[in-house]
Amino acid sequence: MHNFRLWTQINFKRLIGRNLRSFIFCILVPAAFYLLFTKVMNQGMPRDFKQTYLISMVIYATLLSSVITVSNNTLADREQHVWRLLKVTPLNISTYYGSLFLNILLLSVIEVAAMELIAFLVVGVELTLSNWGLIILLATLGSLPLMLFGASITYLGDGNTVNLVSSMLVFPVAVLSGLWWPLSMFPHWLQKIGQLLPTYQTYDLINRVIQKHSWPLTSILGEIIWLIIGIIMILFVQKHSHAV
């Protein structure tokens, strides 16, 4: 337990406290999109657009930190020989990934809260306190399978491959799950694919909870299935990789 606490503390310092550039990137990109579409290009948008687009951009922020930040940091750990500790010291994999993911979850909470602050102060979105809290909770939990994918990508090859795959995952997933533009703009068959994606499940879950006060079982089940797929994937690549 002592080593988990210490690893978590030091991971906080190196991933968040001493890495402000990456931290700001994860907030600024979705915040810029949000302000652009709600304050500048807002002609003909539906009345609840500011609120639904907030949910989209919150999920986009967690997608960035969960896939890009996780894959970049685990790649750096591999290149800086941190993974070697897993082989030659008593450091176990649950401490390593557990402390890392806990920090990325915290990063997600901060990002979502920052987006909410922009939505409230600049864009004028009004929600109940419990709904603000539910967005933070559900968006953060929804990022768990994404973190597992981000960590799995690191096992695929060298730095170029990892960067390429993480970018090729993040941007199509963001577009296909309707985070940038409404899903209804796409052909029917593409909408069907988009609705299967984990980011859409999170979007659908938050949207329904906030707007209709119902907990959609299909989205919850979808999240759980993606979480299981993520766990299987990381265990598989970890077992079959010699990347140390």
Binding site: N3, I10, N19, A76, R84, L85, K87, V88, T89, P90
Partner: protein
Amino acid sequence: MTKVITVQNLSTKYGQKVVLENLSFTIQAGEIVGLLGANGAGKTTLIKVLLGMQEINSGQVQILQQNPHSQSIKEQIGVMFQDDLVIKRVRAVELIELARSLYSKPLASKNLEQIADLGKDGKNYVNKLSGGQQRKLNFALALAGDPTLLFLDEPTAGMDTTSRHHFWHYVRQLAAQGKTIIVTSHYLAEIEDIATRILFLKNHKLIHDGSLADLRANFSYKSVTFKSNLTPQQLALNSGNLQSYEHNHYLFVVQDIDQFLQELVSQMSQIHDLQIKETSLDDIFQQLEEK
């Protein structure tokens, strides 16, 4: 004596390329073993196999009487690799604490900071330390768990002379405590000073396993240098091999030094600056590599 490492008929490949071929040896507790060989001979691969980081194709390997993959032996092993653990945005003292946190009975922080010779640089980020400081820090990290078995792979590469001297002084203290140490180094004189046994790898095979005295006995010769105005024909020395002759400077390699000196003594009045040197590990290394 307790067997710390047992290797039997070990062979392993990278794809189709053989990297270790039919190696067998045992290492007892308290031995200090110098693992030698040219670049690419298989030294680092052998260390990786012993640490469970590299799969083997055939043979058996036991470390501390267990499988190298066993989690329970990791408390007792310390490793200093050729390439350092350097985590960005982490301070040197924090890295020491991280390493200590992994073991149930770690060495004291102050002790490790002293070994790493951090001085005022303890609060610096690890990636901002000099190469030599990073090596010393990684040595301290290898000792964090107070290991009984220590692997040192090219430990002094990048260290300055003073640091190297301090480093080997500390390794000698560890040896005196009865720790088993396996060390590779390109500075053969350092190995010569400390190793009680030499394993020599060539072309992925173990071609020598024994003490340095055995090695000297098998490859013993002396190098004799002197200056003389006499030509090699005039000298007419039969018992030594003339290695070089330039501007009246002679270098002979001699197996039977007594015989050689008897031949030389009759012409001693025309011999100057005579020097006789023992075979160094460097010389033996050259011989083994050229064989």
